[in-house]
Amino acid sequence: MSQPILTVEGLRVSIRGDEGAAQVLDAIDLTIPRGRIVGVVGESGCGKSTLIRAVLGILPANAAIERGTLSFEGRDLRALSGAELSRDIRGSAIGFIPQDPFLALNPVFKIGTQLLEIMRGRTLAGLESESDKRTHLIGLLRAVQIPDPADALERYPHQFSGGQRQRLLIAGALACRPRLLVADEPTTALDVTTQMQILDLLKRLVAERALSMLFVTHDFGVVAQLCDEISVIYAGQTVESGPTAAILDRPHHPYTRLLIGCHPDRAEDLVGIPGAVPSPRDPPPGCRFHPRCPERRAECTRLPPTAADGARRVACWLHAAS
Amino acid sequence: MLALRKFLRDTPATIGLGIVLACILVAALGPCLAPYPDDAFESHILQRLKPPSAEFPFGTDNLGRDVFSRVILGTRYALGVALMVVSIAMALGVPLGLIAGYRGGWLSEAIMRVTDIVLAVPQLILAVVLAQLLKPSLESAMLALAATYWPFFCRTVYAETRRVRSALFVDALEGIGASPWRIMFLHILPNAASPIIVRATIGMGFTILTAAVLGFLGMGATPPLPDWGLAIAESRQYLPESWWFATFPGLAIFLAVLGFNLLGDGLRDFVDPRLRRSR
């Protein structure tokens, strides 16, 4: 198998605040093979957004990567300077689709201006002149099914519906012909029908353009529909990963199991997870889930080893032996 | 106490507070601090326009009076004028704003239209006309400034009253039969206190500056009052040789206004964290 497009290993990120540092990410492992869609699933506050920021190199000034590797197509992202990241990675090699299409577009600039800005200062084969870039954008808008694309470039964000804006953002992510797409819950803000259309669109685009995608969500239903593989995160730790069907079918980690159980489509009877996500400022030792875990043991206060079984990995003392 | 400690963490605001307190102290103790307290009114023409020396730290003016003493003595007038103006403007603007905001109807309309009219020209223009027509004196200047500054309070209080009025508890109070005056002054006014205090603090600095302009134009304080603006006007024809005559009163204005502005800014950040600088 060829080299994965993105590899994250043992990533730990801490954020300094008024009352001390907090390890928002503690032990994240993630691999995105070329051409695949990997879903990262977790509750709100588990560190999904921080993971995306770490990958894109836009962590806030008070955050620091303490350890771990981030490797994109074999390049060590941590070794790149801010300017290199901005020029070579963000927007160009890695396209980004934000969460809320209503807030992500700059309200006072035309769509065309904003999309062209993404391509600015980047060398793209065959797109030297401004009009080339424009034609390219019109093609993209057509691909994301925006009606009357040339006209759309001259309009302002508030003149589009939410679904259309999300399509525009997808076009933006594709503008520089990236190899990897990073999507941050791109459908959460949309109604269900629109959600479906967007997911279909994404799936098709990834397939047509031979892209890979990191898709962050809290929604197992979306994952099931879209993703090839899943990585489940709890409180800054990767707890389980593997092919979508296998995990949904037979989750190993108690957290995964409970999370699936919360989903109205999947669970026979809805059970919530008692307790709350721990504060990253003062996390429990070892497996961070153990205070809430129905099957916790004494050794859970130590960090569990990751057990691999083919494509599947799980970090849990329950599976440490096998 | 906790609030104070939190406030003091804001260094510029603390500096402002320090300057303001110092000004108040100087104003209160003026005649004791000034080396020549009689120089407020007495001239000694034989020692006119002497440069700064140990005897006269800021030099002497065109009538031989000690500039240092006059700057100190002037603090009382500057602060006094500002305090009077702001107080009168508040006494007019706050109740009017409350009534307009609480009552609604034609009375509210009338009050707010008058406010609009006064605000339709820059304050100083109207103040200058008024001060001149009332015969130039410190009292006229104060009256003119107050008469043109109250709409600012009126607007502020009006907006706050509107906001608070729409909050449920006013209806509840009316329900239990509280009188409108009681509601306005006991329940709404305290809610509007912070913006009023902020406005008043900034107004102090602003008024010191405007009063100085009036003094400079000869439409405010009258000689021989040790007014800062007046001193600068008097000093002009002795420049640049007698630089001390204009420089020190100018610095005094600057420092006093700076103090009130810093304090006002700090207070605003304190009561309205939306504009918090640290974020």
């Binding site: 801010g82 006072v108 993404i118 | 020209v121 603006g229 600057f254 502005n261 974020r279």
Partner: protein
Amino acid sequence: MLRFLVRRSLLVLPSLLGLLVLTFVLMRVVPSDPAAALAGETASAQQIEQIRVKYGFDRPLPEQFVIYLGQMARGDLGISVFSNRPVAQDIGYALPATIELTFCALLLAALIGIPLGTLAAVWHNSPLDHAIRMLTVAGLAVAGFWLAIMLQLLFAMDLGWLPLRGRLASTLTAPPDISGLFLVDSLLAGRFDLFGNALSHLAMPAFTLAVPGIATIARFTRAGVLETMQKDFVAYETAVGYAPARLVAIYVLRNSVVAAVTQIGLLFGALISSAVAVERIYDWPGIGSYAVTAILNLDYNAILAVTLTVGIIYAVVNILVDLAHGLIDPRVAEQM
């Protein structure tokens, strides 16, 4: 858009009328006698009485006001007591001078204030930010007339870099009067020497007036930029790789200047106020120094006209500010 303009203008009219009534009443209830002022130094009591009758000062106040309004409707602002010229003509000379001065001051304030505020926001809480903040607070505390005197002594007398006073060097003659703005008229006449000379004369007064403006604009720009920086679209724009400098200078800034632009309306009032003293010092023949002369001489018609003119400019500036909001933000434009 047109409807917006008409509606806004109509809204201003009652205030302006009220202002006129206010000033008119003030002028007439004060102790000093307009007829005596009009009659001049060598007049006898009898002469003064004749003038009182001739100008209708003996009639009831409301009647006088109606007469005045009637004249005004015909574009006649009366004769200046002081100069014996039609007031409208005097204002015609003074107004462009002030417009030129205040416009340049505003421009300067924006050109300096916006970058300063942006820098402070980008590096907020850094020493640079603190320095800019102290500077802006200081800028608001300095008395314009004092600064004017000090700048004059430094730049005109000591260093000799800039001219001392006036709108043009004394030996030059003003360009043909088209707009009354020397910068514009000199260019229209193709006189670049006049343009440069007028510009050099503008520099100090415009800067003096701009100082509090710089401070205000910088503060509001800073707050605006900080607020905008928190917005989702900035995070998005960062994530898709907008070049950081362009991101701030274009995409953040345009969203942030709304508050600063609103300030320009208020600032204009402060500017005119400041101009009253500053124009005198720089000998700038504008509406501010005209106002002082008019007020000192109790030149009734001139005072009324000045107040009204300033009221109108003030209103126009505020309407322009609203239009500027529309230019900045398409959503606002749609509601106009």
